[in-house]
């Protein structure tokens, strides 16, 4: 008998669940830029398209105070199309109820915990959110995903204004989630604000590194190809 070594490429199928933050804070945009939700939506579409072409199963979950959209992982093209329609519909719904619904803070961590319980089969969780919640609680929720043996990739989406705080004159800012107002002299608080948000991001980066979660900070002006390259890098490691 002759012994042969067979070298072949076998494609593995990935299950990926895109979790999109649809809270009011994601509706923020500065100037003519996209809202964070729009950017997240487009990123979701791009990622889902890429996954679908790679025969990976992709699902979509969107949440604010509650889970607004939950589509399981599927590979069919029809599923992809349905996903896009649902996403578009969600965007429309969110815009229409922007002013009418009573405002309250979104607890990202609680929703992630619930989702961690729902996703039974191991998959790649792609979280697209601004993560405006208690960082410790969010990290615990992410640990919950890891505990469930899910891989997690986070796209922490900001608006450029949130990262630069370019405001010059005194303004009365309104919290988009709670409606709280605060008069601020940007010149005075800029430095402190940037330090705080920097610490916020660094905290997440460090914690994600510790539990092997890919953490990508982005803002709405960053082109999607950079996001795709990060995803592909992650995908190749799985």
């Amino acid at each position: 008998d002759r012994l042969y070594v067979k070298q072949y490429e076998e494609e593995t199928n990935l299950r990926a669940q895109i979790v999109l933050d649809a809270s009011r804070s994601m509706m923020y945009h500065s100037g003519e830029s996209l809202t964070k939700f729009q950017y997240g939506s487009y990123l979701t579409a791009v990622l889902a398209c890429l996954m679908a072409r790679q025969q990976d199963a992709v699902g979509l979950t969107a949440f604010d105070q509650q889970i607004q959209l939950d589509m399981p992982c599927r590979t069919s093209a029809r599923h992809f199309g349905e996903m896009m329609r649902q996403l578009e519909s969600l965007a429309g719904n969110l815009e229409s109820k922007a002013d009418g619904v009573e405002r309250q803070e979104t607890h990202v961590a609680d929703t992630l915990h619930r989702l961690a319980e729902r996703f039974k089969r191991r998959c790649l969780i792609v979280l697209i959110s601004d993560l405006y919640d208690d960082p410790d609680a969010v990290i615990r929720a992410l640990h919950h995903f890891r505990h469930r043996r899910h891989d997690v990739m986070i796209f922490n989406v900001f608006d450029k204004a949130e990262l630069e705080f370019p405001f010059r004159e005194t303004m009365r800012f309104v919290d988009m989630e709670t409606g709280e107002q605060l008069q601020v002299d940007p010149a005075f608080v800029r430095e402190e604000y940037l330090q705080r948000i920097g610490r916020f991001i660094d905290g997440y980066r460090k914690s994600c590194n510790e539990c092997q979660i890919d953490y990508v900070v982005t803002h709405t002006a960053v082109p999607y190809d950079f996001m795709l390259s990060r995803y592909l890098s992650k995908r190749s490691g799985l």
């Binding site: 005194t170 309104v174 601020v184 709405t220 950079f226």
Partner: protein, 739 residues
């Protein structure tokens, strides 16, 4: 500080604009949504205090800029002599012109009074129309009213033109007080005092009054002190003169003693000359006077004739100040001393006349020395006589005189006469006491009590046991005691105790009873001998002691009248007059001018002459009814005025508080000094500079935290995101890619 355009000060209200704008802007802050306030809330909390301080500082800078602009536009200037809004307002000015004796001094810079007049002229020249001015000249004749300010400057200039150096000491304290009073009542906002002086300390001696003036002055107008004192040249001065005469009798020598004070720094050699009626009588040897040393020189001169002699001592040669080189004196001489004896009547037997021994003793003085001229009077003749021509009036054993005679005798004594009472059997103690009370205690020196005569207890009477060793009349007779102890007194009138009175006991009997008592009254004196000069009463006239006693008493009393008063320039000369007297006095001044005085002060019963501004001998012609009497008095410069001690400026400023004091040392540049003080320093530029500083500071603080694009990029977290550096796609391209 003053303001040229004070209206702009209302612009300071613009300082409220930043406050109002701040309040408005707070309410109009634009509203913008933000994703979350969690970071902003914490940041605001942390920077709240710093922002508050920053905002306050900005507000203050903005308010300050507004206020300072308003002040700068109001043209502020720092004036030392003008009030807040008095830039163009009228002024009220008082000039105190020190013309005291030291101003006659010539120092290294020239004559001081020349500098005084130059400085004062410049002050007057700086007056504008509408300004009020007062001129206070502390010494010398009054040239212009010191009770008001004048708008007629010409009047003041005329008075100033008549001003001369006096020989008096200036009371600058009083002048300053008057200046402040004048300005207090003035309506002008700008008030100034100019003190033109040579800073002699003696003009500021009355510190207590100064303190009272300062305590009452809540605020004081500024005082400009023009210091005309200069480095002194050597000066020697005559400071004191004393005249002694045994009797004012022609032929009897007069002793003239003068004191000379040397220059404080330089030894001098000088001569002193004695002049009488402008004729040089004597000269001293050359006196070497060391620095600050005092020396005396005595002259003796005999006066002749019945007249007033005008004398002076003079420092020969020249020095810095001629005003203190001459001192004057006057002496009124008579060929004989006129004495009156008033007695009841001549006794038929002359030896039994109570006044016999007295008359003999006095005549012997006249016989031997030609010095006494005796006139005998009776009480009924006295009203028709003018007693003032007698140096001494003896009243011997007079019964109680009529009231008008008693008044006449009392007036005689208090007007400068010497009234000597000699008791006897006619003396009624009770009546005398009553008359004395009617004459206001001016008739007899002490109250008489009762008669005493030798009795069983005192069969030999009493002896003189004690004489006053300090009194010039009786002192020579103290030793040997046997001289006076041999005098026996058999009868006498007991007197009341002299305790509590101004009477002085000159002789006592052996039980302590006063025998001879003296008391000064007015300008004259009263004496009382408790016993008679009759041998029934005492053996005194028969004793060797009697004649020398009468002689000493007579010449002592006459000698005190020998020389006339010595006054200092500015002092008052006064003459006591009786209420009933109709007295007219003419004063002939040293320059020959005659001044009439006829009014006496009813409170003091004195005629007073105050205008002793000239130095020299003044002659007084006193007309009492038909009689005319002559007297003279000498007026000399105030010696302290030439003492040449300056007052320190720090000490002077304490006296001049609360006024601000400015000094001008150059009398020729007073105008410049005044203009500088009035014009002041323009502060508009300073305030504009402050505005600039405030605006720059405000701009800096307001924009310190504003970041430019590059700084924004440096601080932005967005730049740390790699995607930013890969490509710059605008939002519309991103949307296309997503679709």
């Amino acid at each position: 500080m003053t303001f040229g355009t004070a209206l702009f000060l209302w612009g300071m209200a613009a300082g409220a604009i930043p406050v109002v704008l701040h309040m408005i802007n707070r309410q109009k802050a634009p509203v913008a949504p933000f994703s979350t306030l969690r970071f902003l809330r914490a940041s605001v909390e942390k920077t709240r205090r710093r922002k508050h301080v920053h905002d306050l500082l900005l507000l203050l800078l903005r308010v300050a800029a507004m206020v300072l602009i308003a002040i700068a536009l109001a043209r502020p200037a720092l004036h030392w002599l003008q009030q807040w809004f008095g830039n163009h307002a009228s002024k009220a000015v008082v000039v105190i012109l020190d013309n005291s004796g030291s101003m006659a001094t010539t120092d290294q810079n020239g004559r001081r009074f020349d500098r005084v007049t130059s400085a004062t002229r410049q002050v007057l020249d700086e007056l504008g129309p509408g300004d009020q001015v007062g001129l206070l000249v502390p010494t010398g004749p009054r040239l212009i009213s010191s009770q008001r300010l004048f708008q007629n400057h010409e009047l003041v200039r005329q008075a100033f033109g008549s001003c001369r150096v006096s020989f008096e000491r200036a009371d600058l304290v009083a002048a300053l007080g008057q200046a402040r009073r004048l300005l207090r009542n003035a309506n002008s906002p700008n008030k100034e005092i100019y003190l033109v002086t040579d800073m002699q300390a003696c003009c500021w001696d009355d510190a207590k009054r100064l303190q009272e003036i300062n305590n009452n002055a809540k605020e004081g107008p500024p005082i400009v002190v023009v210091d005309v004192g200069g480095p002194p040249r050597p000066n020697t001065s005559l400071t004191r003169i004393e005249i002694e005469a045994t009797a004012p009798v022609a032929g009897i020598p007069l002793r003239v003693t003068t004191e000379v004070r040397g220059d404080p720094q330089v030894a001098q050699e000088r001569n002193i000359g004695l002049y009488l009626n402008d004729q040089k009588q004597d000269s001293s040897p050359t006196l070497r006077i060391e620095p600050a040393q005092k020396k005396t020189q005595t002259f003796q001169v005999s006066l002749s004739g019945k007249k007033i002699h005008r004398g002076d001592v003079r420092l020969e040669g020249e020095d810095a100040c001629p005003a203190d080189d001459r001192l004057y004196f006057a002496a009124n001489t008579d060929p004989a001393i006129p004495v009156a004896i008033v007695k009841p009547a001549d006794h038929e037997i002359r030896n039994l006349d109570q006044a016999y021994y007295l008359e003999r003793a006095l005549e012997s003085l006249g016989d031997e020395q030609g010095a006494v001229r005796v006139q005998t009077l009776t009480p009924n003749v006295v009203p028709d006589k003018s007693l003032s021509k007698f140096v001494i009036v003896f009243c011997v054993n007079l019964p109680p005189p009529d009231l008008n005679v008693a008044q006449q005798l009392a007036d005689y004594a208090s007007s400068g006469g010497n009234l000597i009472w000699i008791c006897g059997d006619n003396v009624d103690p009770i009546a005398y006491d009553s008359l004395n009370k009617e004459c206001h205690e001016r008739l007899v020196p002490i109250r008489l009590v009762r008669f005493r005569e030798s009795n069983d207890q005192h069969p030999d009477g009493w002896n003189i046991s004690w004489l006053d060793a300090e009194h010039p009349v009786v002192a020579p007779f103290v030793e040997p005691a046997s001289v006076h102890q041999g005098v026996q007194v058999f009868q006498f009138v007991e007197m009341a105790s002299t305790k509590g009175t101004s009477a002085r006991v000159l002789a006592r009997l052996n039980e302590g009873q006063p025998l001879l008592v003296e008391r000064s009254v007015g300008s004259g004196s009263l004496y009382l001998l408790a016993t008679s000069l009759h041998v029934d009463w005492t053996n005194f006239p028969l004793k060797p002691l009697f004649l020398p006693f009468v002689s000493r008493l007579t010449f002592h009393l006459a000698g005190s009248n020998a020389t006339q008063p010595l006054l200092t320039a500015g002092d008052s000369w006064s003459l006591p007059v009786a209420v009933s007297d109709e007295v007219k006095v003419e004063i002939v001044q040293p320059d020959g001018q005659v001044v009439q005085i006829s009014t006496s002060n009813p409170e003091t019963n004195r005629i007073r002459f105050d205008e002793t501004h000239q130095v020299g001998v003044y002659e007084a012609r006193i007309h009492r009814g038909p009689d005319t009497q002559k007297a003279a008095f000498a007026v000399n410069p105030d010696p302290d005025e030439f003492a040449s001690r300056r007052i320190e400026r720090t000490e002077l400023e304490q006296f001049l508080r609360p006024s601000k004091v400015f000094y001008c040392d150059d009398a020729s540049r007073v105008s410049e000094a005044i203009q500088t003080l009035r014009k002041g320093v323009e502060l508009g530029g300073v305030f504009l500079l402050l505005v600039l500083v405030a605006l720059v500071a405000e701009a800096y603080y307001a924009n310190r935290r504003a970041l430019g694009p590059r700084q924004l990029a440096q601080h932005s977290l967005a730049t740390s995101i790699p995607g930013n550096r890969i490509s710059e796609l605008n939002v519309s391209k991103q949307k296309e890619l997503s679709r």
